[in-house]
Structure formats: structure tokens, C-alpha cells
Amino acid sequence: MFRLAIKNLTQNKTRLIVSVGGLGLALTLVLFFGAIFDGAMSRLTVYIDNAGADVWVSQDGVRTMHMSASFLPASVTDEVERVPGVKEAVPVLYATDMIQANGKEYISYVFGVPDNAPLGRPGGIVEGAAMPGPGEVIIDHSIAASAGLKVGDEVAVLGQQMKIAGFTSDTSSLVSSVSVVRFEDFAKARGGNQAISFVLVKVSPGESPAVVASRISDSVSGVTVQTRQQFASQERKLVKDMSADIINIMNIAGFLTGLAVVALTVYIATIARRKEYGVLKAMGVRNRLLYLVVLTQALLSVALGLAAGVAITLLLSGLIPRFNESMVLTLSFGSLLRVAVVSVFIAGLAALLPARQLAGLEPVAIIRRG
């Protein structure tokens, strides 16, 4: 039965390649979209993960950084510093800004970090200084690659012309990247506003970040306090919540297209072998066995299509970042498993039509028709 299914599928190699290619691309649509969001997710918390803070303090009710704004009175830093278990408390400024360079604009999360601060410094420096000096900025290498910039060039950040002091890597995603300027430059660009955005906290050795976070929450009013893990998890949740619906819509469209391609492939392969199926029926082979042959064909087509889809997605994951550093594609196991499970259902559905054709097959009539 398995051999018959393979023979049916491979009787015409061109048809097989075309159908596997079609299905592979339809599944690529699903995998690709998921990979973009998984890739963005992997870059989303880079700054939070690498800033060195165990605890993040933000404005009351503000639990995220992405597409959010946090405003705290500058005095909060001192209040946090006095809480037992706090080793370091560093105020940082944060804004979503447009970096302008060579006529292009790039969305960036700009952080203002005090000079010599033990926390909040840019991580993953690939070129230039580790911290920006006065009037300087550290930006992600993806912006430099896109705009043709080098260390020492000028870009507009927060409405000010600033000199590039260095480049970080792997902080950019499809929607933004991380840039760091000096706290004083940021405050000046904001027009001397005394508000800060976050307080980054390092806990004393032996202290639990969760316990210290709870203490800060109890002693300082008007703030939301989260451990690094909680803050990063809220960020991931945000992207998940915002992208879930659109991913579902794309999945439905991709899966439906894939379903049509598999149904067409299996149907064509079955109809082309109609005569042989008629002979099998005339010889007493039961419908159930013929259904199994068709289902096996559908499963094989889907397996090949899925393999093609995965291969194309992996190829794109390797190729795209070479041309666009900020577009990272990550093919997660969860996404692959989900697509594989749905593909099995697709195979089952796609086998229904040809199976119905086989059930209605009249052996003698088919043989007579030739």
C-alpha cells in the first residue's frame, strides 16, 4: 500500500516537484510569518537582559518598555537607593525616537545613561567606545550598515546632531534598535525636564531580586517594580498579544492555500491512476485500503511540502539578515510543531475528495473507458 502510494506520487516527477514546491511555499508563508515574530521576540529584551539590573522600577502601571512611556520624579532614585538590599540604583531616560542619517529615518529606543553608571551600559559593542561621551551616541550596527555610517559620523538623535562613538550588534529588530546617549545630553534634548524614565537596581550580594522588588514596592509610592525576568516576560507578552491575531489570520490564509494545493495534487495523482484503482476494485480490494493509499499519498505530499517549507524558511533565515541585519528570523520548535500538526489535518482533508471519487468508482465502467 505504501509502495503504491509512493508510485502514484512519483509517477510524474515534474508534477511532484511542482506540487511539493507549491505546498512548500504555502507552508513557508505560515512558517515565515511566525519566524519573523519569533526573531523579533529574541531581540526584544536584549537591553533588559544585558543592562545588568536585577530590578526595574517604572511609573505606576507601566510594565513594559516597547510602545510605552514611563515618567518618574528624579527623587525616586534616592528613595529606591535607601531601600535595604539595594546595592546600586541608576536613573535612566528612555524614549522612542527617530534616528536620522543620510536622509533615512530609523526607529530606535534611545536610552540616556549616566556616565560611569554601573548599570544600563550598552552591551555587545562591536566597534568604537563602550560608552558615549558628551554629544555622542552608540547605535546598532544595522543602522550603520543601512545608512553607510562609520564611527565618527554624525546622526540626528532626539533632535540633536550627535557623533557616533560606537556600534552595538544584535539589538535591532524589524521595528527598532537600541541607542545609548549620555544622561545629560538626553535631559538637555528634552528641554531640562526633571522626570526620569526608569530606575535600574542592582541588589546586594545574597539578596533575592524578588524580595528587594517587593520592599521597593512597599516603600516607594507611585511606582511599579519588577524583577528583570518579570519585565522581560511582560515585554514578550506584549509582542505576543499584539501579534497573535495577525499571525492567526496569516496562518489561516497560508494553511487554506496549502490545503488547496495538497488537495489538487492528491486528486490529480488519484485520478491519473483511476484505471489501476478500478482494476484493484475489480480484484476485490476494499475501499478502506484504497482510502489508505490516498491518505498515505496526501501525508507523503504534506511531509515533502513541509520539508520544503522548512528548508525555504531556513534558507531565508540565513539569507535575509545578510542584507538586512535588523530582520531576524527564528524558526522555533513550537512553530514547527504547530505547522506540522495542522499539516497532518490538511493531508486528511485533502484526501477526502479523491477518497470519495474512489468510493464511487465502478470497476467495469472504468476499465471499459480506458
Binding site: L25, A95, M98, I268, N324
Partner: protein, 380 residues
């Protein structure tokens, strides 16, 4: 029958017969092409919808000139804490040729309702000057600092009604109105009094942008030039330019994805056309062989194949356009935060893509037909 005469009439008929010999296969192939076309058109519609909503506030708020903080060229960075210098709004109002000014203060927030995070852009405005919701579906404008006008889609998703309490950034606000056309892929607009946002961002008197209406006798371009001279620390642009900048930035983000996905959908469509034609051609190989044996030229057989391709792709494209409208309607009905705007230009692109799909899909089958050796076919 003269086979020279096959070129005009019988070629399309033969093509149609070939396609119709198996109706179920034709239906499956039309559906396959239609789904690929639908995906292309839907993605383009989604893109247009995103652009439309990204510009919605500016498009619907009076004013032809926008005064923004220095270095700010688009409204997408609004709400991130960059403000105009104190007294800017007053300077603008005093400038000759200014008929109306609308100062707004924006702030982004990410509240969570029913376990789901929602991106909102708080528009702080003075109801006496304008700049609030342009299409109030229900209720009224905020009259006090503890009142808010919510986007209707956001309210529906989380069962908020006029009179309910909405919590944001640690504040409990009373919902006094619901607005239409204020939701998008990237979040929803909510409207509050400017004085409330000033408290939230700890900046009394702060202004993110001023929208300026020129007097009837002043050209917006002239007013922009005059304002640039009187406001050296601000960025003065025509509102249309800010909207164009917004679209350009959004395009920079989403076009990378859209182009790749449209490309993949296009290839899927071409492969479906190719698959169907190839099968139809192989099945009728002996008939083609006979035609060749009795003198049919390659051009005639090409035309048969191409006619089939165009017929299948044409049906697929038409069905796909219908599917796209259906999908757009379904998405807008059940997920109204994703506006889908199917524009005539997108339909034209899709029809062009469908024709190209047909041409590409017909390549291999056409070559197969033309390279058929008549005697070989009979021998098989």
C-alpha cells in the same frame, strides 16, 4: 479541417474543453489560484489599511501645518517625551496668517485588560480648541481630567461602555465617550484632556505638536515658511508632509514582510497554474500528438496552452478578488483593529500578477506540447 484555421476559433475551444474535462480539478485549481490571489490582495489591503490608520489622526484633525519638536519629522514618535519649547503654542497663535491652533500632548501606554496588553496612544487636547475624536459613536468629549473617550473597538473587545471605569498608568478614568475609526494594527487612540497627560508625563504645559490652520488668505506653504523663521527651535512641516513621513516609516517596517509574502503567494499561484496545465496537457498528450501529426504548428499548440492558462488564472483571479473582499469583511467584522482597504491600484496589481502567473505557469506545459514527437505518442 484545415489546421491553419485552428489558430482562430478552435484553439480557445480546445483549451476550454481541456480545462473542463475534469470539473473538480478545475474547481480545485481555481480555488488554489484564488487563495494565492486573495493572499496578495489581502496583504496589500492590510498594508493600505495600516497606512490609512497611521495617518488617521492627522487626516481628521483640522490644520494644514504641523509644528513639531526639533528633529521630529513624523507623528509616529509622538508620545515618547519630546516636547516643544514653552510658549511655542502662544508664539504660533500670534503669527500673522494663523486662523486656528490645536496644541496636543501625546503619551503612549500599554494597559492590560483581561490578561491582554493593549497599545494605546493618549491624545491630550483642549476640547475648546479641538483635536479630539472626529467621529464620536457615543457619549461626549471629556469635560474633566478623570474622563476619557475610548476607541470603540478597544471598548468592545474588553466590554467597556460609557460610564465604566478605565484604568491606565495607575489612574482610574470614567469612560464618557466612544470613538470610531481610531483603532489600528499598532494600537488605539484614546482621548483625554491635555491637563491629564501633563500630569502623567510630569511636565506642566508640555506640548507634543501644534496643528495650525492658515487663514483663508494665507497659503499653508507661506505660513510654514513664516513659522520656521519665528520658531527656530521647532520643526515646521506641512501636515501632508508629516503624513507622508509616517507612511514612509511604516512602509520601511512592514514592506519587508509584505514583499516577501506577496512574492511567495505569487509563486504558489504560478505553480498551481503550472500543475493544472501540466496535468491537463499530459492527459491529452495523444490528442496533441494527433494534431501535430496532421500538421498543427507549434504556435497553435502554444495558443491552446496559453488560452488554458489565462482561462484558469482569469477564473482564479476573479474568484480571488471575491475571496479577498470576503476575507477583508470577515477580518474587519471579527477583528476590527485590522482595517483592510482594498484599493483599485491593488486590484490592478493583482490582475497583473494573475496574468504573469498564467504566463509563467504555462511555460513548462507549453514546452512539453511543442516538443511532443507525434510518432512517439502513438507508439506509447
Amino acid at each position: 479541417m484545415s489546421l491553419v484555421g485552428l489558430s482562430a476559433g478552435p484553439a480557445p475551444r480546445l483549451a476550454l474543453q481541456n480545462l473542463l474535462q475534469d470539473k473538480l480539478r478545475l474547481v480545485l485549481s481555481v480555488v488554489g489560484i484564488a487563495l494565492a490571489v486573495m493572499l496578495i490582495l489581502f496583504l496589500l489591503g492590510l498594508r493600505a489599511g495600516v497606512f490609512e490608520r497611521a495617518k488617521a489622526y492627522l487626516a481628521n484633525t483640522p490644520g494644514s501645518v504641523a509644528v513639531l519638536p526639533q528633529g521630529v519629522k513624523s507623528s509616529l514618535a509622538a508620545g515618547s517625551g519630546e516636547y516643544l519649547a514653552a510658549g511655542t503654542a502662544e508664539t504660533i497663535a500670534r503669527t500673522p496668517g494663523v486662523a486656528r491652533t490645536i496644541p496636543v500632548l501625546e503619551a503612549r501606554a500599554m494597559p492590560e485588560f483581561h490578561g491582554k496588553k493593549e497599545s494605546v496612544l493618549l491624545i491630550g487636547y483642549d476640547p475648546a480648541l479641538g483635536g479630539g475624536a472626529w467621529d464620536l459613536a457615543e457619549g461626549r468629549e471629556p469635560a474633566a481630567d478623570n474622563e476619557i473617550v475610548l476607541d470603540r473597538v478597544l471598548a468592545d473587545r474588553h466590554n467597556f461602555a460609557v460610564g465604566d471605569t478605565f484604568e491606565i498608568s495607575g489612574l482610574a478614568l470614567k469612560v464618557v465617550g466612544l470613538s470610531n475609526g481610531t483603532s489600528s494594527l499598532s494600537g488605539s487612540y484614546v482621548f483625554v484632556r491635555k491637563s491629564l497627560v501633563e500630569k502623567l508625563v510630569l511636565s506642566p504645559g508640555a506640548v507634543s505638536a501644534v496643528l495650525v490652520t492658515a487663514s483663508p488668505v494665507t497659503a499653508p506653504e507661506d505660513l510654514a515658511t513664516a513659522l520656521r523663521q519665528s520658531l527656530p527651535g521647532a520643526n515646521v512641516l506641512l501636515k501632508s508632509q508629516v503624513m507622508a513621513n509616517d507612511q514612509e516609516i511604516m512602509a520601511g517596517i512592514i514592506d519587508q514582510i509584505i514583499v516577501l509574502m506577496v512574492g511567495a503567494a505569487f509563486i504558489v499561484g504560478a505553480l498551481v497554474v503550472g500543475l493544472v496545465l501540466y496535468t491537463a496537457t499530459i492527459e491529452r498528450r495523444s490528442e496533441y500528438g494527433i494534431l501535430k501529426a496532421i500538421g498543427a504548428r507549434g504556435g497553435v499548440l502554444y495558443r491552446v496552452t496559453i488560452s488554458q492558462a489565462f482561462a484558469a488564472a482569469g477564473l482564479g483571479v476573479l474568484t480571488g478578488i471575491g475571496f479577498a473582499y470576503l476575507m477583508g469583511w470577515l477580518v474587519e467584522t471579527f477583528k476590527p483593529q485590522f482595517p483592510v482597504s482594498i484599493e483599485p491600484s491593488a486590484i490592478a496589481i493583482t490582475v497583473g500578477a494573475g496574468l504573469l502567473m498564467a504566463m509563467l505557469g504555462a511555460l513548462v506545459p507549453a514546452r512539453t506540447v511543442v516538443s511532443l514527437a507525434p510518432a512517439e505518442v502513438f507508439r506509447r
